[in-house]
């Protein structure tokens, strides 16, 4: 449920609306749910409404945590694994019809 995409506020319009750019796509969006949003802020846009101002520091922090994970990955091994997964996938273990 609830597809929302980040959009950058290009300009604030009358009636609490704003023009927002979502990866090159512009649309008018209501800021009624994010009254403090400013031009150049990124907001999460859902069904024509901004629902949250995105926090760039938190974004960076999340990425930093992931980047600090050890890199266990071996390219060749991974491909072999993927191929194996694939044939496993042909008879998936969940296919018994029950999850529990």
């Amino acid at each position: 449920m609830c597809l929302a995409v980040p959009g950058k506020i290009l300009q604030i319009n009358p009636f609490g609306r704003a023009t927002v750019d979502m990866l090159g796509v512009q649309r008018e969006v209501s800021l009624r749910l994010v009254p403090t949003a400013q031009v150049d802020d990124y907001v999460l846009v859902h069904a024509g409404f901004g629902i949250q101002v995105i926090d760039p520091a938190e974004a960076e922090e999340t990425l930093r945590l992931v980047r600090e994970l050890p890199d266990l990955f071996d390219e060749d091994l991974a491909q072999a694994e993927a191929a194996e997964e694939l044939s496993m996938h042909a008879e998936p273990s969940l296919d018994d019809g029950g999850a529990a």
Binding site: C2, L33, D40, H46, G48, E58, L72, F73, G97, A99
Partner: protein, 364 residues
């Protein structure tokens, strides 16, 4: 304000680090994780994550596709409204294909009723203003992410005195359904991938009861590959460590306290009501009803229609799928009489529906 590197959340190298870490932590454990949100179901399918999980980590889909959990009665009601002369039903894309007891909005459209797809409830209001001789009824479905937008739209239409617009409200709230699943003896969920954008509104603490009452961990996360994998990794870690908690892997989009402005608008326009969920049955206080003050904008009170007798699709096990009791492949109709081309149940209709996602990504 500096630009955010959204692309990094799709970075393959970062994704691989997370996948490796999931494998390392999961070991041979059998872990059932349920993604509550249909958009997570779609992401997991599109990124092919099931094909790359450790053998024991099972990703199950929950009741988070609003189209899927809408009851036949509500769909039949919307269909009855669409049959009124001069009425336009406006709604979100997938909703139109869901079968009710005997027909769907899209079949009504093919039969000549006026049914239109909009991106936003604001577009439905504009439609009403552009067509003053028509009555535009917006069919509202969705959870906490969507209801504030509907609330704002209703307030807007109210303030502007728009007379040919109303809302048919089939909205639901997430926590009661989660509780129903967590307490269902037929399901065994080891961790919940919690809905990112619902949590944007509700905040994170709403889910604390999962830990307190069921000792089940949950992670709120986003929808990019790195988001989803990080959520899974955090859940696997908590399962492996036996330390359940409610955590937030989507801090850039979800404040701990959620969006209070949005919740206040919902509060002003709606009141809780018992609601029937497809598959889960009646759940107390799990639906929303437009308050009396805005009754004139409530299509179910404004238009008196005869609703056909409710009939459930014979053999459809959507309910069991939504509760995680079976995966779609466990339904005898899956891929046989029930396909996206000719769906029997709603879970096969919406691209967020578990059955459709499993069929599409051939994961049954």
């Amino acid at each position: 304000m500096s630009d955010i590197d959204f692309g990094a959340f799709r970075d393959a190298a970062l994704a691989r680090r997370l996948i490796d870490s999931i494998h390392a932590m999961a070991g041979d454990r059998q872990i059932n994780l349920m993604e509550v949100c249909g958009t997570h179901t779609v992401s997991i399918g599109r990124y092919g994550f099931r094909s790359i999980m450790p053998a024991g980590v099972h990703l199950l889909s929950g009741p988070g596709c609003p189209v899927c959990v809408t009851s036949n009665r509500d769909i039949d009601h919307a269909i009855a409204l669409s049959r009124l002369d001069g009425v336009v039903i406006a709604t979100f894309g997938d909703m139109v294909r869901v079968p009710g007891s005997t027909t769907s909005l899209s079949r009504q459209k093919a039969a000549g009723r006026d049914v239109r797809i909009v991106y936003s409830p604001l577009d439905a209001v504009e439609l009403a203003q552009a067509n003053p001789h028509l009555q535009v009824i917006f069919m509202g479905v969705g959870f906490e992410t969507t209801t504030p937008a509907i609330a704002a739209t209703i307030l807007d239409a109210h303030d502007r005195g728009i007379e040919n617009f109303s809302v048919f409200c089939a909205h639901k709230t997430t926590p009661p359904a989660l509780r129903a699943i967590a307490s269902d003896p037929q399901t065994r969920i080891d961790g919940f991938i919690l809905p990112g954008h619902v949590s944007t509104i509700t905040g994170v603490e709403t889910y604390r009861f999962l830990v307190d009452e069921f000792s089940t961990p949950g992670v709120v996360t986003g929808f990019e590959p790195v988001d989803v994998l990080e959520g899974i990794a955090m859940l696997v870690r908590m399962v492996a460590e036996g330390a359940p908690d409610i955590q937030n892997a989507y801090r850039r989009g979800v404040n701990q306290g959620g969006n209070a402005v949005a919740r206040q608008l919902v509060q002003q326009v709606f009141e809780p009501v018992d609601a029937t969920w497809r598959g889960l049955g009646a759940i107390p206080a799990s639906g929303l009803r437009i308050r009396d003050e805005f009754a004139h904008l409530d299509a179910s009170r404004r238009f008196d229609v005869d609703i056909e007798p409710t009939r459930e699709a014979a053999g459809c096990r959507c309910g069991d799928v939504l509760r995680g009791v079976i995966t779609p492949g466990g339904c005898p109709l899956f891929g046989r009489t029930c396909t996206p081309e000719k769906p029997v149940g709603p879970c096969m209709v919406s691209s967020e529906g578990s059955c459709a996602a499993y069929y599409r990504y051939r994961e049954a």
